[in-house]
């Protein structure tokens, strides 16, 4: 087991199978393309799973490390490795890829090969982001992952897909270009692109502040934090269901992950310096965006805003610098991957039948789709943070940590329990309960076996994590402790 380069496999198996899928070409080979894509996605998951079983929870050090020179001219290495922070995301991403391929099985009828290949390639690139230990490698994966999503939104998206695709691409690129400059700056100061070297690199407070802000530009857009979140509702609404799932479940985690891998350890003093700002932005996201979500008439937009609010929780958890907060935020990230992915899938299920995302076009869905309504209920509850679901664990940990930090911060953060319940359950009530609203609803058919399988898998994740979170948290402990110990030491010399 130890002999295999597992991380490389997790990156390149999906990418290569994506290329193979592309070769099937025209739509008359669509069944073959789908089958190959599913095999590729499952293979990607299979090679990722040993990362968990072979993981040593006692050490904060990087595991499954691979190191070979890549661009020797600039001392850039192909350097991979995961710790307790990143390992779960590699697996989550590989898992979500299987879901996404299944989710598009019947729905996508045109350019099937390209659709599936896009997701497979993106899956590999995203795994690359989570396992890169070389900043250049990270950046390359980070930027390259924009291309497949741009195409997926633009080709298979809704009516305003072009606008959404451009906005998504340019917003993210804007942030990451500043990030690139700070990477070059750090390279010139340290002579290497190794992220772990940079963790030890002494930097003046002024330099740290600039670096922190440049990182913030990249990661805040990705998270997304208020006020640079405006691309996300557009992208979510226009993206096909699969695109929304990946966007919510994985792509949003990149920004938060970037904070943990780059901002906090490389610029710890600046992180403390700016923590007030980040906390304020996070609370605005939680409270203000929560209210924004309340008034949405479009279900996808509502869940998109709820994602922003949930991600506000994550950044909040990071910047109170306590193990409980950071772990809570990480749990929240994983949980949000299951729950938001499932919410978008549920909306997709209804959209495929009625071709509308407007809440007003529904009503009484439970009368026609009882099985679906049950699953949807579960995920709505998880989204609202009901105890027993994964949504609760992370939120509770973050709130607990913030009570210790500052009562009023915790007070504002806890409002999400009410707001989240309000907007999610109110939407659920209007869509699912009541009398059958109109002709379209009366013609609905309940979920197919494929849809049942997808929802069941996601429900397993959401419930399992809610009832027994320990397998998820125990792998994080030593890495999070090490990170916080590192962040508490000043780098100014």
């Amino acid at each position: 087991m130890s002999g295999l380069p597992l991380l490389s496999l997790a990156i390149w198996v999906p990418i290569l199978s994506g290329l193979v899928v592309l070769l099937t070409g025209a739509d008359r080979n669509a069944p073959l393309a789908r089958m190959l894509a599913l095999i590729g996605a499952i293979a990607g998951l299979v090679v990722a799973l040993p990362l968990y079983s072979g993981f040593d929870t006692t050490t904060p050090a990087m595991q499954f490390v691979e190191l070979s020179p890549w661009i020797s001219r600039f001392n850039v290495n192909y350097h991979l490795g995961v710790d307790g922070i990143s390992m779960l995301f590699v697996i989550l991403n590989s898992f979500i890829t299987v879901i996404v391929i299944l989710a598009g099985w019947r729905v996508i009828g045109s350019q099937v090969a390209q659709y599936n290949a896009g997701f497979l390639i993106m899956s590999g690139l995203l795994n690359g982001i989570f396992s890169a230990l070389d900043a250049m490698l990270f950046y390359v994966f980070f930027e390259a992952s924009l291309i497949p999503l741009y195409i997926i939104i633009g080709v298979w998206g809704g009516p305003r897909r072009v606008y959404a695709a451009f906005k998504f691409f340019l917003f993210t690129l804007m942030g990451s270009l500043l990030f690139l400059i700070s990477l070059i700056y750090l390279f010139l100061n340290s002579g290497s692109f190794a992220i772990q070297d940079w963790h030890q690199l002494p930097l003046s407070l002024a330099a740290q502040k600039w670096i922190f802000l440049a990182f913030l530009a990249a990661f805040a857009v990705k998270v997304p934090m208020w006020p640079v979140h405006t691309w996300l509702p557009d992208a979510h609404v226009e993206a096909p269901t699969g695109g929304s799932i990946v966007l919510a479940a994985i792509a949003l985690k990149l920004g938060a992950y970037g904070f943990l891998r780059f901002s906090l350890p490389i610029a710890p003093d600046a992180s403390h310096e700016f923590s007030g700002l980040i906390l304020a932005l996070s609370l605005i996201a939680v409270v203000y965006i929560g209210f924004v979500a309340l008034v949405q008439v479009d279900m996808k937009k509502l869940v998109a805003y709820s994602s922003i609010a949930h991600m506000g929780f994550v950044t909040l958890g990071f910047f109170i610098f306590s193990p409980m907060g950071v772990e809570g935020a990480l749990v929240q990230m994983v949980s949000h991957g299951f729950v938001a992915g499932a919410m978008f899938f549920c909306i997709g299920v209804m959209y495929d039948r009625v071709h509308s995302r407007l809440i007003a076009d529904y009503g009484g869905v439970v009368n026609r789709m009882p099985k679906f309504a049950t699953f949807f209920m579960l995920f709505a509850m998880a989204n609202a943070g009901l105890p027993g679901t994964s949504g609760f664990v992370g939120e509770f940990m973050v709130i607990l940590a913030s009570v210790k930090f500052n009562f009023w911060v915790a007070f504002a953060a806890a409002s999400t329990m009410i707001l989240g319940a309000a907007y999610t359950l109110w939407m659920y009530k209007r869509v699912v309960f009541g009398a059958v609203g109109n002709r379209h609803v009366s013609e609905l058919t309940d979920i197919s076996a494929r849809e049942f399988l997808i929802l069941a898998l996601l429900a397993l994740g959401a419930l399992g994590m809610g009832l027994y979170p320990q397998p998820f948290t125990e792998v994080m402990h030593s890495s999070v402790d090490e990170l916080l110990r590192h962040v508490s030491i000043s780098k100014i010399q």
């Binding site: 390209q114 950046y139 930027e143 741009y150 451009f166 400059i181």
Partner: protein
């Protein structure tokens, strides 16, 4: 010196054998063409391509890696020159191969002259690359330019083409005048036109500073014109637009390599002492080019004009590296900076070939693919060509894993090394603007329905080379190290004399 002491020394011809070979073959092809009855000029075409292959073989055979001079030090052969020449052959070869069908479909252009002029232009570029004397530089530039003026106007009955040719000629003549004037001033200040002596003399403190600075302004203006950077860029959009696409492809590729070589020969090899002056000039030119090029490209609907403005911005970006080599008085980072520029220009040529090559593919008899909308739905018509064009666009936009990203990255790191953080920020800002119009091409190809369902036909060798071109942009992107090192070592060997 008495008559007896004067000896006629035959110059060392060996190191210029590639140039001699190309010249001889060109003259031969000129004559052969007279006797060819074939309307398709297959023989001429094949001979031309063989000449390029032969030139490449000759260059590789005589390449030693050392700096050697001949023709009374007017001509230099070194590893940077050899590398660039090989790139020039490669891109001219690709140009002629890509444009073969296009030319055949247009009887006006299907003449032997197209190939002969291409070879003369190639010879001009070779001379530019190997110049060690201002007059050699001038001869090379003129040989290239005169051939190009004629090629641009080859589509005789087309008004835009004739107009473009005229504009190019008038402005080009002006630029040559500037260049000559600058050279005469440098001669006035230093008493020599030989690049290596000039630099040796200047290093020892000879020469009149003020006249030299004046001369430098004219030299930089002339070179800027040939590179096509703002404010000497006016000809680029009109010529790219008006010229037959095959000729646009020619202008947009190999001449950029030669112009880069001239920058190295004249400014670095000759006038490194005045680097403080010309770096500032280049910086201004560079920022202006990135600004004007990127913003103007956004407004274009014609893809050739769009790529013309994009070329302006790319040359501006490339100049950033040239402008940040000498830091203060410290020449420690010159190889780093200049080789970044070299890598940039080489990879740009690669992307440019692919992009214009796709435009050529879409054109056919009686139809010119000119508008961006002509690309609509290309993915549904032929997904591989769409993928190639997409790779070119993302490469030009600087998105990894495509090679353009590493080019931008290496220039940016040179800029940051030189301490110009604001310049790097400006450069990435303009890149962001640039990303918009490249994305628009991708959008048209992938998101829009096809407007035209004519099948795209191309001969097998074009398909093959296009695919290789596309894969090169992707694969060099995945593994850019070798090309980066090649650029760095060949430059290092060539500019080692002043360090």
């Amino acid at each position: 010196m008495t008559l007896a002491e004067m000896q006629f020394v035959l110059p060392e011809l060996r190191i210029a054998s590639a140039e001699i070979f190309v010249l001889a073959m060109t003259c031969l092809i000129l004559i052969v063409d007279l006797f060819v009855k074939d309307k398709r000029r297959t023989l001429v075409y094949v001979l031309t391509q063989l000449t390029l292959v032969g030139a490449a073989a000759t260059t590789m055979a005589v390449s030693t890696g050392d700096i050697s001079y001949t023709f009374s030090n007017m001509f230099v052969s070194d590893s940077m020159g050899d590398t660039l020449k090989l790139m020039v052959y490669l891109s001219v070869f690709a140009v002629l191969l890509y444009s073969r069908t296009y030319v055949l479909d247009r009887p006006q252009m299907a003449k032997g002259e197209f190939y002969v002029l291409s070879l003369f232009a190639t010879l001009g570029m070779m001379v530019m690359v190997s110049a060690n004397h201002f007059l050699t530089v001038y001869i090379g530039i003129e040989l290239l330019s005169l051939s190009l003026y004629a090629m641009v106007g080859m589509n005789r009955d087309s008004i835009p083409s004739t107009e473009a040719s005229m504009k190019y000629f008038v402005l080009g003549a002006l630029a040559s005048g500037l260049l000559l004037y600058g050279m005469s001033m440098v001669y006035g200040a230093t008493g020599t036109l030989e690049i290596s002596t000039l630099s040796a003399g200047l290093l020892e403190g000879q020469g009149n500073g003020i006249i030299l600075a004046f001369g430098l302004v004219f030299l930089v203006s002339g070179i800027a014109f040939k590179l096509g950077v703002v404010p000497f860029h006016m000809w680029i959009p009109d010529v790219y637009h008006g010229a037959p696409t095959a000729v646009t492809l020619f202008i947009a590729s190999a001449p950029k390599l030669a112009a880069f070589a001239v920058v190295i020969r004249v400014l670095v090899n000759g006038l490194i002492v005045a680097s403080h002056d010309w770096q500032i000039m280049l910086l201004v030119l560079s920022v202006l080019s990135m600004a004007v090029g990127n913003f103007a490209a956004v407004a274009q609907t014609n893809i050739k004009r769009m790529l013309a403005y994009s070329a302006i911005s790319h040359m501006g970006f490339m100049l950033l590296g040239m402008a940040t080599g000498v830091i203060g008085r410290d020449a420690q980072f010159v190889v780093n900076a200049y080789s970044s520029s070299m890598f940039y220009v080489v990879t740009y040529v690669l992307s440019s070939l692919g992009a214009f090559g796709t435009i050529l593919l879409l054109s056919r008899a009686g139809f010119e693919a000119e508008e961006i909308s002509d690309f609509s739905g290309l993915n549904k018509r032929n997904s591989w060509y769409a993928a190639i064009m997409m790779m070119m666009m993302f490469s030009m936009a600087g998105i990894p894993f495509f090679v353009g990203f590493f080019a931008k990255f290496s220039v940016l790191q040179a800029v940051v090394v030189a301490g110009h953080l604001w310049l790097a920020l400006a450069a990435v800002f303009f890149s962001l603007v640039g990303a918009y119009y490249y994305l628009r091409v991708v959008k048209v190809m992938y998101f829009d329905p096809p407007a035209d369902n004519t099948p795209i036909k191309a001969p097998g060798e074009v398909k093959l080379l296009m695919s290789a071109n596309g894969l090169a942009v992707a694969l060099i992107g995945i593994s850019p190290n070798a090309l980066m090192i090649l650029c760095a070592t060949s430059l290092n060997d060539s500019i080692s004399f002043f360090r």
